[in-house]
């Protein structure tokens, strides 16, 4: 018998083992749900898959009686717009600050301590301030995501910039590069895959801030919907919404990873030269 640390499952076994926990959770859920519904057909805690399907098809394929909108898609669109704007603006601000502080010691001196302190502020504690300053509209929700994510991206990009071997920067200077050339042609291209990576890592936080802000003050959005129907114990809506959010998060992450692999193959094949 080999040592446990040397025991590697074969590929089919790995896939099977990976699927196993999902199957188990589903199975347990179905059994529990059946048992509860048998005891009390109007139980709301563990709805059957049929009930969930009904609830979602009502939200997704029938226009709302009040507004005429297809709520599920409207919620999805609103949330994705907010998340996209928030993460996008945060990535832009974070990348610029991280690049400048990492590349230029004269920018590092005044900005780096500030970025560090800002990144330590719990963003949720800023939410009341954002609501007071920007009102309850779109701006405060997007601002929360930006405040939550931009300092992290800035620090990550700053670290990556400082990690680029000094030899490269010196070499560029011996080839006649100006500071601008070094930033634009040596640092920025090498930092792009790092930026995508930082965005992937910050998406989890982005979703958190989005759903929190939507839950507190909003009129649509995935987070708003699940906080709204909580009042009616509508687990048949909440559970599919959570699954949908998870799927969206997975797809966005996968798209970012693929983009990075296609656009920056030299980075993913482990090139440091």
């Amino acid at each position: 018998m080999k040592r446990l640390v040397n025991l590697t499952p074969s590929k089919p076994a790995r896939i099977l083992l990976g699927l196993l926990p999902f199957a188990l959770i589903l199975l347990i859920y179905v059994i529990a749900s059946d048992a509860r519904l048998e005891a009390n057909p109007s139980d709301k805690l563990l709805p059957s898959f049929e009930q969930m399907g009904d609830a979602i098809s009502r939200l997704a394929f029938e226009p709302s009686k009040r507004t005429g909108e297809y709520l599920f898609w409207q919620d999805t669109l609103s949330s994705l717009t907010r998340l996209g704007l928030g993460i996008g603006i945060a990535a832009f601000i974070g990348f610029t600050l991280g690049l400048l502080t990492g590349a230029l010691p004269t920018a590092y001196a005044p900005l780096a301590p500030l970025i560090t302190v800002i990144s330590l502020i719990p963003p949720m504690a800023l939410l009341p301030i954002l609501f007071i300053v920007f009102g309850l509209g779109e701006l405060s929700k997007i601002a929360l995501i930006i405040f939550g994510v931009a300092p992290f991206i800035a620090r990550d990009i700053q670290r990556c910039t400082l990690e680029i071997p000094r030899e490269q920067l010196i070499k560029a200077q011996t080839l006649g590069a100006s500071s601008w050339h070094i930033v634009w042609r040596v640092l920025v291209p090498q930092l792009m895959p790092r930026l995508i990576n930082a965005m992937r890592l910050s998406l989890g936080a982005g979703w958190l801030f989005l759903i929190a802000a939507e839950g507190i003050a909003s009129t649509d959005g995935l987070g708003y919907r699940i906080f709204l129907v909580r009042r009616y114990l509508s687990m048949d809506v909440i559970l599919p919404y959570v699954a949908w959010i998870t799927l969206l998060a997975f797809i966005i992450d996968w798209l970012l990873a693929k983009t990075s692999q296609l656009a920056f193959p030299w980075h993913h094949q482990g090139g440091k030269a």
Binding site: A172, T174, W180, G270, G271, K272
Partner: protein
């Protein structure tokens, strides 16, 4: 011509180089050897402009060496001296793009084509034509150093600095690289300074060999005395016993030498 006049380099109380005076003519190939930490890399950094002398002068054609790196002095490091995000061809072209496109750092159309031809010719010379479209991580160590050399030469620097450029290569490949660097040195009429750990490399290559070593040691204060150039020899005329003595000096670890002399 490079003139070194009473050059000292100190970091606080730690004297790295003391009172070095030399003159190097254009077209000389100087090999720098010595134990690690003896200041030969510091000396190279001063030539590059990354460090400035504490005392004394370092003059190139009568002018003090600029205090930052520029295109008059090319460099090849042991590693990390090519850009991983650019193809081999782009790595060589980028120097001309820095020169000719101050704003964008990138050339287009006919001007780009012209630079591409120049870069291709240089790649041909260092034997990288088949790899022109590859990325650096796809190259072997020797090919990567060939690229670094081609890249350093496109701006036609007068001085080429080599910081242990072949230290990480296999012996066979190292011999090829020696051949290449000698050819390029003659053809481009370069003044070359090469730091190496390998004494035989110093004998084979170049016209002049400098050995850096501390002449005096104080066991109570190891930083009190700096290194000097203890041998300055024209290559090809070195007697065998001198060679053995130098070999011993270089290979002796620093701490052992201190205790040995104080005993």
């Amino acid at each position: 011509m490079i003139e070194i006049k009473n050059l000292w380099k100190e970091y606080g109380d730690n004297v790295v180089l003391e009172d070095i005076s030399k003159t190097v003519n254009d077209g000389e190939f100087v090999t720098l050897v010595g134990t690690s930490g003896c200041g030969k890399s510091t000396f190279l950094k001063m030539l590059l402009g990354m460090e400035s002398p504490t005392r004394g002068q370092l003059l190139i054609d009568g002018q003090p060496i600029p205090d930052e790196p520029d295109q008059s002095r090319g460099i090849v490091f042991q590693q990390y001296s090519v850009f991983p995000h650019l193809s081999v061809l782009e790595n060589v072209m980028i120097a001309r793009e820095f020169e000719r496109a101050p704003l964008l750092g990138k050339l287009f159309g006919g001007r780009k084509k012209q630079v591409r031809e120049e870069a291709r010719a240089l790649l041909e010379k260092v034997g990288l034509t088949p790899a022109a479209d590859k990325y650096p991580h796809e190259l072997s160590g020797g090919m990567r150093q060939r690229l670094a050399i081609a890249q350093a030469l496109i701006r036609k620097p007068k001085v080429l600095l080599l910081d242990e450029p072949f230290g990480a290569l296999d012996p066979g490949i190292r011999a090829d690289m020696h051949q290449l660097i000698l050819e390029l040195w003659r053809e481009h009429n370069l003044t070359v300074f090469m730091v190496t750990h390998d004494l035989s490399e110093g004998f084979y290559l170049g016209t002049r060999l400098w050995v850096f070593d501390k002449v005096r040691h104080d066991p109570q204060a190891p930083g009190a005395w700096g290194a000097q150039i203890t041998y300055d020899l024209p290559v090809g005329e070195i007697p065998a016993d001198t060679l053995a003595k130098m070999q011993q000096q270089i290979n002796e670890p620093e701490d052992k030498k201190i205790t040995g002399e104080s005993a």
